[in-house]
Symmetry: C3
Subunit: 247 residues, 3 copies
């Protein structure tokens, strides 16, 4: 299951039933859980020259697609799924079942909850905190430097549970995007987003409650999305959501 052209360094701990594709490299500081599948041209456990390798722990059933790169020094829960050309740097603390799309770049030193969904080409700066069940769509950037370039002033963004940030929006440093809120596409957010709000524009303005947005088929509110969107979540979690909304 390990392609003969792949390089598995001595010391790497590879679980049962793991697949590693051609031209991939698993460094000696990596622990890769059972049932994981790593495509071709990947690097797991990258360490900068001159630094001591730090452990990279990837839970079971990971699916790491081609040309992706994970640094040493992070711990990632079970069920990771990456797209292609994904970068996850050191110091990332990542919960279960993260899905992170093609070209996305997690700059490290961040905290990511469970069942988080990053679509393609998302940029998560250092010092970001992302809660459980958050959705972030393509070309979104979470920033961290209030006076770029500055030193010692980095303040990451906090995105709370169930929040959604739509395509090509940025969140300025140190802000909080509240629980169940929605940031509209192509927005520049320069103040905190209150829980349950929808904001949009440059700069983004409060447009009311996200729960006022109706699904196109007239079946009810589009937000909080867990009212109607259940694909990919565990049965017990979905049961809880259904109970919450009486559906």
């Amino acid at each position: 299951m390990i392609h003969p052209s792949a390089i598995i360094e001595e010391g790497a701990s590879i679980g049962e039933d793991v697949v590693v594709g051609p031209f991939s490299i698993i460094h000696g500081n990596v622990t890769l859980g059972d049932g994981s599948v790593v495509d071709s041209h990947c690097v797991l456990g990258h360490t900068e020259p001159g630094l001591a390798p730090a452990p990279l722990i990837v839970g079971p059933d990971a699916r790491i697609r081609s040309h992706s790169l994970l640094y040493g020094g992070s711990e990632i829960g079970s069920g990771l799924q990456t797209g292609h050309r994904v970068t996850i740097r050191e110091g990332s603390s990542i919960g279960e079942s993260l899905r992170v799309g093609t070209l996305s770049d997690l700059q490290g030193s961040c905290s990511i909850g469970n069942y988080v969904r990053f679509h393609s080409n998302v940029h998560i700066s250092q010092a970001s905190t992302v809660g459980d069940y958050v959705w972030i769509f393509p070309y979104v950037v979470l920033t961290n430097d209030p006076h770029p370039p500055s030193d010692g002033f980095l303040t990451g963004v906090t995105v709370e549970e169930f929040a959604v940030i739509a395509t090509m929006s940025i969140i300025l440093p140190g802000l909080t995007v509240g629980r169940d809120s929605l940031v509209g596409a192509h927005s520049m957010v320069n103040r905190d987003v209150r829980p349950g709000a929808v904001v949009a524009g440059t700069p983004a303005k409060d447009r009311g409650d996200a729960s006022a947005i109706e699904l196109r088929d007239g079946s009810g509110p589009a937000y909080p999305w867990r009212r109607h969107f259940h694909r990919g979540y565990p049965d017990d979690v979905v049961a809880q959501w259904k109970a919450e909304f009486g559906s």
Copy 2:
């Protein structure tokens, strides 16, 4: 012409005079036309684990640059040219002479016409329809989900013939960008763009007719661009354009 480090799986159909660079992989479900050149570190015919491989058909004279990835399950006309690190996913129906720049990501299940030009870092969502001779510039996203995340509501964008979408603009789901229109840079388009219009802003507003924009040298209207821009198109097509505008 096939580098010894490249992996050509049994079953792959490789045309005459094909070049495949080092560390590239051509899976067994691939048909690659005569005269094609594939750089290093590419993957053609990717299939997700557990799925049956679907054919990837790439027409003759393809030029696929390094680190690019094409899934199985698409059909691509002759003369494809990709930049580096391009992704083309399954279910893509692509006409002749597509040029798609570095880092661009076609998410699959889309229909792309002939002589389409995607510049670098363009994101084409599933269910998009792009007509012949369209130009899309860097960091443009065609979206598809009116209430992200939603299920069963995906509605792709339609971009009609000769339309131009400038840098870092997004088009909201289900909209049509009309024939010969121009979307200005850094715009958020939230309604249909009428044929021949120029729109710009967040949200984008109708600013009149694109044909009112003059070339800087005073030689005439800049749009429709086929009045003056002919590089890379077939002679008979250019002759038709010249006749159309009496030049």
Copy 3:
């Protein structure tokens, strides 16, 4: 120090104490300075089929991270540092100590000064001119075509010394971003930015002098940033900056 799977073409000039990682390719037209470290899956000296290879000269102490690609036909000063998946095309004239982040794409035929900092996912079009000590943040695009697509009208952007362009902004073709100025995040710049100004919005408006922005700890102005930010610059340069501001 050269991994056995790496391909070093005949004619390549590799300095002392150079490291080249697995599955990387150094073409015969490359001169790579002493003490350089090239990660895995890189390509140095790429030449398009049918063209004569032009020299790629990379100064000493380069640090080129994985999956990066440098074309032949450029000259790059000492101390280059790239992130992962960086592209630098032909005709680039690059000074000393460029740092360019993951996924950034320099399209070539550009002039880049000394000690320039491009963060991740920056797009530098052909014909751009970037002065010494400039900072450009993620998802910024310098454009070059006033009437896309056009031919013979390309006019690049000029970014003067010490200027800062924040995340997800674009600069329209032919404009100058003045010395010591600041372009706010998510802006669309459609006129020249005067030296020392801060501009922001879509389109960007002049918001006064950047020097009026205070650091959050009350220690003084945030701009020009060289008043307080010195990390990574040579001692003699920093001494000069300190003298300039009497600190």
